[in-house]
């Protein structure tokens, strides 16, 4: 159960998140910075709700928006080359 992977992009397990949360008594944002959960290719769109849910389970507090640099997941992650006008990503 503890080996369940929460963030697949950065390969962060439930155990990593629980251990980090217990050791540092931290917020969801701090969990992200310490473990890199939610900082991979998908932009945290897949695992962020799971990270928040784990934190809510552990601390009993809902993740709020009062912390600076809050979560702003992209609608769709794209490469810089796409932004530069090349749709093929070259």
């Amino acid at each position: 159960m503890k080996e369940t992977i929460i963030c697949r992009c950065e390969e962060v397990s439930l155990e990593d998140i629980v251990n980090t949360a217990n050791t540092h008594n931290c917020s969801a944002r701090e969990i992200k910075l310490r473990t890199r959960a939610g900082m991979g290719y998908c932009g945290g769109r897949t695992c962020r709700p799971a990270v928040n849910a784990v934190l809510e389970d552990l601390t009993g507090e809902k993740a709020g928006h009062n912390v600076p640099l809050k979560v702003q997941p992209p609608v769709r992650p794209v490469t810089l080359s796409v932004l530069g006008g090349n749709r093929n990503g070259h």
């Binding site: 697949r8 290719y41 897949t46 992650p77 990503g89």
Partner: protein, 133 residues
């Protein structure tokens, strides 16, 4: 035409008159039907591992299959970060799986390469290749 292909679906009926498309995956040639995504064509051919995790080398495959999670990203005709689940196969497409990337900062700082030449030597003189694991 693939070991996992359902050729006669109880509801959707038989697969008929589909144009066959040839493509390569890591240099090996495969066949799929027109309208297949890269992921479905490879799955039909029994290939489930589309890439490995860049750092740990753990296998990755289709996860959400709707273009959301980027777990199935592959390299297509040398373009990076192409989602296999969202990209239809085309004739002669050259698909490469994701490989383990060098991770020079996973070791203690004392063991880090001091110069770029040293870094290259440790990675068998491959500029951006090698695993340094």
């Amino acid at each position: 035409m693939g070991i996992n292909r359902i050729l006669n679906h109880p509801v959707l009926g038989p697969v008929e008159n589909k144009k066959r498309i040839t493509f390569t995956f890591d240099g090996q040639t495969f066949e799929g039907f027109e309208g297949d995504t890269i992921a479905s064509a490879l799955l039909a051919n029994g290939i489930r591992t589309l890439r490995v995790h860049e750092e740990t080398g753990a296998p990755r495959a289709i996860y959400c299959n709707i273009g959301h999670c980027f777990e199935c990203r592959v390299t297509v005709n040398e373009a990076d970060i192409v989602r296999a689940c969202m990209t239809p196969i085309q004739e002669s497409m050259a698909i490469e799986s994701g490989k383990v990337q060098p991770a020079p900062f996973n070791t203690p700082p004392e063991e880090w390469p001091r110069t770029y030449t040293e870094y290259e030597e440790r990675n068998n003189n491959q500029k951006d290749g090698g695993t340094n694991a």
